[in-house]
Symmetry: C2
Subunit: 153 residues, 2 copies
DNA sequence: TACATATTATAGCAAGGGCTATATTTTGAA
DNA sequence: TTCAAAATATAGCCCTTGCTATAATATGTA
């Protein structure tokens, strides 16, 4: 808990202290978001597979994400521990309410960002690609600014 | 290398195949970007510290990133292996040309995104925060679209 | 110079995502 | 119904980012 390296060596301007702390918080928060990004990817994809085929199978998730099947099994086990997902051995995977909520929010953000990037003149394929990465790092405020822009045009 | 799970189970429409492959590529690429994001953070911060104080010390990096000092030491060791950074035991850290290039590109992207988000009406502090996450996931094309927008207004 | 303090390095742990190889179970077709 | 093929689970590995505790080195000041 104690962080000895928090001692300030060369005394910075008070503005710099403020900036440092917010930047540190941003780093912390973004490290957290990078973890959650993987959850979003899985849950969004599971929701998509269920919508299209009625269920989400390990093999299909692995294929779509471009990872090996045991990797999926392991991540799903974690998502299960975290209450995002339901699954019985050798059976398909389904979402809990919590998981579905996250998936829906992620899809919503995704769609807005794709639309926004396209409105900015970005090629649809690239917009789709970039949105996949950006969607996990956009705050509610920024998302609203994007939506407001889409409304204005 | 072989990926047995690539066999397609239910034959999809040809459009869906195309979409699946691009989406899979996007996932792969974005997983890669998530790794590189940490490099960007370190290199950008090291460049900043060098610019301000003439050197980048482990303790300062740890403080700014909000992680423990041994974590920094370990990541720096990797960046050194990868030719991004130079350092002697118990001495400060400096950038190689390769590292400096990445830092400069990252800073450039960062600044454009902050300006862009602010132009979209996002609060400066939030813009700064979001840019920290978004900057690692924006393609050249999207960045150019942002710059074009900034020129237009 | 000597020594306390600050800084860096190292050891060792946990957790997570990635992989291959292989065992187990389901499933579908003969 | 039986049995091969497909799908899932498991074991076991690597690498990375985190952490704490502690050892080793640098640094500045008395």
């Amino acid at each position: 808990m104690n962080r000895t390296q928090n001692k300030v060596q060369q005394i910075p301007e008070s503005d710099d202290i403020q900036k440092m702390d917010t930047q540190t918080e941003a780093f912390r928060h973004n490290r957290e978001l990078r973890k959650l990004a993987l959850n979003d990817d899985y849950l969004e994809l599971i929701a998509d597979l269920i919508a299209k085929t009625g269920e989400a199978r390990t093999v299909d998730i692995a294929c779509r994400l471009g990872v090996a099947q045991p990797t999926v099994t392991k991540v799903i086990a974690r998502l299960k521990r975290e209450g995002m997902v339901i699954s019985e051995p050798y059976r398909a995977i389904y979402l809990t309410d919590a998981g579905r909520l996250i998936a829906e929010k992620a899809k919503h953000r995704h769609q807005i960002i794709v639309s926004f990037l396209m409105a900015m003149g970005v090629d649809p394929a690239i917009a789709e690609h970039d949105a996949e990465g950006i969607e996990h790092h956009v705050s509610t405020e920024t998302l609203q600014a994007f939506m407001a822009f889409l409304d204005r045009i």
